[in-house]
Symmetry: C2
Subunit: 159 residues, 2 copies
Amino acid sequence: MTIEVQGAKQGSVEDKLVAASITSDMGFLLAKLHAAGSVLNNRALAAFDLKERSYSVLILANSGLEPTQRELADFLSLDPSQIVALVDELEKRRLVVRAPGKLDRRAKTVTATAAGAKLHERASEAAAQAEAEALQGLETAEVATLKALLRKALWGGAV
Amino acid sequence: MTIEVQGAKQGSVEDKLVAASITSDMGFLLAKLHAAGSVLNNRALAAFDLKERSYSVLILANSGLEPTQRELADFLSLDPSQIVALVDELEKRRLVVRAPGKLDRRAKTVTATAAGAKLHERASEAAAQAEAEALQGLETAEVATLKALLRKALWGGAV
DNA sequence: AATAAATCATTGACTTCTACAACAATCCAT
DNA sequence: ATGGATTGTTGTAGAAGTCAATGATTTATT
């Protein structure tokens, strides 16, 4: 009879290198946790024919903030041309619509349709579950602290 | 006369979308802070002809842990074939050497040369400076907390 | 008002990354 | 000793990232 310690990666190649100094490199920590979460996230979102990228656009299209494509590009740290492709696909699926900006007719705002809102609702549940799984090693209070610190690092203390 | 509030992204397209619910999505927060840091990181490392990826391999080659390529792939969340390319380049520059594993002759351990150690030392200073810049919005204690939480999420509380 | 400069979305070309299958050499289990 | 698994490697197909150019529109300058 074999007893598997819960959560322990069996042979655990990991255990060895965790001792390396790179584990105090912020970039590495962010990349690694993001990579681990992405797998779960994309797996969960695949059921809705979404990926992390298209899902994030769908969220913002549902925010009521009527973001323009340029704003999406800046906010999501993507090239404007990538936003075009993402919105193209979502628009083809009737999940979002483009509309000329009211103030600026060059810009195009991206807002969700009713179908987009419905899909967003269902997908966000699955995404929340995936996130919880990726963060199961943390207490709920720790998750809140972690998010607060990340937000502060990004936008300052006022957030 | 125009007064620029320090640290504020001038027009700040950002400010608007910060209100969206995506800012409580862990994957998004990790990706965004990582993206912001990567720019600074890669800019700093370019002076040494390194990128984030090759730098991380160089760190582990300098760890004294004699990691195999497979271990590097697992730990860095990269495909083994990508490790081949990264080690190829570092080895061509005489910064690391491949050696057959003592226990397993299939495996190849990657260890730094003297030149690799020297470059690592200089590059790590630049990288630390870039990291500090990316995290300037946080107090030093907060940075420590953030890293501790990320480590716990990745490897559990014992670390 | 007229012109110049800047901005937005879009396209296209190009490079880099990622993921995956196939392979020889080597190790492990039976 | 044989079959199955693992390691590094190569190659490839597709995704993602970067960058310049363009028409439409806005903003700034004169």
